[in-house]
Amino acid sequence: MSLPTIQIRGLTKRFGDHEVLRGVDLTVAASEVVCLIGPSGSGKSTLLRCVNFLEPYDAGEVRIEGRLIGYEDAPNGARRPMAARPLRAMRREIGMVFQHFNLWPHMTALHNVAEPLRRVRGLAHAEADERAMAMLARVGLSDKAQAYPSRLSGGQQQRVAIARALAMQPRLMLFDEPTSALDPELVGEVLEVMKSLASEGMTMLIVTHEMGFAAHVANRIAFIDSGRILEQGPPRYVFHESAEPRVRQFLQTYHDRNSF
């Protein structure tokens, strides 16, 4: 098995006149953890959202285990948007965790996790609940199964969201600034869960501002600025040895802000 889990080539995305992604190339191998860092508005969230085609891209390609997502080849040699059904089938295999959790507020924690299992995986009610309970246990929230999201802290909500994505048994997980909306003292519990996922060999692509986490958990860091990957490599290299001025400047600002 040598097909990379994610292979991105020449990815271009435009919002009106503004080119958000300008020819991005990025490969994520199976069981690899890659963190995307960079200033706000650099395009890192957009890049992540292109991977499961929540954001349709304009040019280039995103392949999941070799298969192009979002487009298919038309008979005339051009490409056309993928039909809804195969796109959904591909999305099933890609877990996503959002900055603002995006739990369904009218369902309990357990129901949030079990609902996709029933509707998408076609599991019976009891079976879905059982797997959902196991997933909640894994993120340390067995005792909150019957709580509605409004009764949970941000950190707990995000762990439920991770459990919801994990329950689908995805081939890879996308994290879009999973701790950016959390109070500082709640960040740790979410990062712990992500760390344990990484150690179990989950393939992960993570947009984050948690440099400490990135340094310790990522196999590779990719620095994005103005829609381009300016630098990538092992954390030690990007954080300490990169000669790219924008990287050094970004890390310096970050360092200044966090030292007191």
Partner: protein
């Protein structure tokens, strides 16, 4: 105040109140159903249909109910639509309120944060399940308070049905006032009836609202 007159007319007043409640209930239900259907059709990615629905909504919201009712009752027969007064009243209330209810449901749909729909997309949920399990519950919950509000407004629009001789409360009141020269008593009694109706509606509405939003503040009982 003249208790004798009020007592003498009590049966017709109560029957008028019954007709009012019936017309209001049936008209409101019709309006809710039509409005809901319109709001669903409005979501289809078909622009000409949206323009048509928009035009309908604007016409029903933009013209007086009295005029609509006249057109329906007096003008209907010219296009082969012969309705008795009560039926015309119910249909009129239904059409009139459907425009408002459609907008209320549309607002409900718009109130569901897009992130919840993206979460459904990201796990590969299809459009049907996303609508039934995610969008619709959120939209309906958001719509409850404005629905109750509109139903209260509608309860008082029923007085207009007296113009086309529907024997509802207003009609009975006018009859009583005309026959006994007791305008003040009639109006006072009418106010009491409507106040009771509105008070009951808003109490019921608050209970429904508390019930459907219970999840915002409380834990579910263990399953």
């Amino acid at each position: 105040m003249n208790p004798d007159v009020l007592l003498r007319y009590a049966p017709s007043l109560i029957s008028g109140f019954g007709v009012t409640v019936m017309c209001w209930g049936a008209g409101g239900a019709l309006g809710l159903i039509l409005g809901f259907i319109i709001s669903l059709l409005y979501r289809l990615p078909f622009a000409p249909l949206r323009w048509l629905l928009r035009a309908l909504i604007e016409v029903f919201r933009g013209t007086p109910f009295l005029m609509q009712l006249f057109l329906l009752y007096a003008g209907g027969p010219y296009i082969g639509l012969k309705l008795n007064a009560t039926t015309a009243g119910v249909v009129g209330l239904g059409l009139y309120s459907s425009a408002y209810f459609a907008e209320i449901f549309r607002g409900g749909f718009a109130a569901v944060p897009h992130g919840q729909i993206e979460a459904a997309m990201s796990v590969g949920m299809g459009p049907r399940d996303t609508l039934l399990r995610v969008t619709l519950p959120g939209a309906l919950i958001a719509a409850v308070p404005p629905i109750v509000n509109m139903l209260i407004v509608l309860s008082k629009e029923t007085v207009v049905l007296s113009i086309i001789t529907v024997p509802e409360l207003m009609y009975q009141m006018q009859t009583m006032a005309a026959e006994t020269f007791t305008a003040f008593d009639a109006i006072f009694a009418m106010a009491v009836f409507y106040w009771l109706l509105v008070e009951a509606t808003s109490r019921l509405g608050r209970r429904v609202e508390a019930r459907v939003t219970a999840f915002m503040a409380q834990e579910a009982s263990p399953a």
